[in-house]
């Protein structure tokens, strides 16, 4: 807390000024520094793994962006597994429409060819996957599973 703010609050406590006057004076001081800049809370990613796990089945997909801005995303791989399994249960007519629509948007993936055993193999293979992107403006993007 700044000295000015302490003095104003002291004057209010001593009864030298009213609450309204104190409010006006505090407003005139502007936004306190603690409110101007959000406090840097500890990022949960501090506890996250720093790279792909060498052993075991990966549990989460991590996306970390560092640089000017920081973005941390942690997605359970179970979501990917369940989502892929769900595609095998979608009615064929709907699946054809989905594939066609995805193809129009540049994602030519035929989910009809995806079998449950392929999904498990895909998840296991993700353990070895690591994507590192270093952009020209200093941002680093890392994608891995652990």
């Amino acid at each position: 807390m700044s000295e000015d703010r302490k003095r104003i609050l002291g004057m209010l406590a001593e009864g030298k000024i009213t609450a309204e006057e104190a409010d006006l004076l505090l407003d005139s001081l502007g936004t306190p520094a603690s409110e101007a800049t959000p406090s840097r809370e500890p990022m949960p990613s501090d506890d996250w793994p720093t790279g792909p796990s060498a052993t075991g089945t990966p549990k989460f997909l991590y996306v970390k962006v560092t640089g000017k801005d920081t973005v941390d995303v942690k997605v359970p791989l179970g979501l990917l597994r369940a989502g892929l399994k769900l595609t095998s249960l979608i009615p064929p007519q709907a699946m054809d429409q989905i594939s066609e629509s995805m193809g129009e948007h540049g994602m030519s993936i035929d989910f009809n060819n995806l079998k449950p055993e392929d999904i498990e193999e895909l998840i296991q293979s993700l353990r070895e996957m690591e994507i590192n992107v270093h952009s020209a403006d200093g941002d680093n993007i890392r994608v891995f599973c652990a």
Binding site: P38, M43, P44, V73, K74, L89
Partner: protein, 96 residues
């Protein structure tokens, strides 16, 4: 059974420079008991449709599994964390 436990709570924290920001705890656990009768009804209907399709010899008769699979996807959302921190603001979303 735990695999089908849907998200119980969503926590959202937003803060911007010069603004107060807010923290939001969304106890969506309260929503599920309200939707349970609807889910049971849906499962009964899909089960009847699947039996009818099976009896008629249709190749596709997995609507019940489709509904259960959708629930599984919803359940697997638990554990998702998204944090975006810039110089003067941050957004954090946690799904429990």
């Amino acid at each position: 059974m735990n695999a089908y436990l849907p998200p119980l709570m969503i926590r959202v924290r937003v803060r911007e420079a010069g603004a107060r920001g807010f923290r939001l705890w969304l106890p969506i656990v309260l929503l599920w008991p309200l939707l349970l009768p609807l889910l049971v009804l849906t499962l009964i209907v899909t089960l009847l449709v699947d039996l009818a399709l099976l009896a008629s010899g249709a190749r596709y008769h997995h609507y019940t599994r489709l509904v259960l699979g959708s629930l599984r996807v919803l359940a697997e959302v638990r554990g998702t964390h998204v944090d975006a921190v810039t110089e003067d603001s941050f957004v954090k979303v946690d799904i429990y």
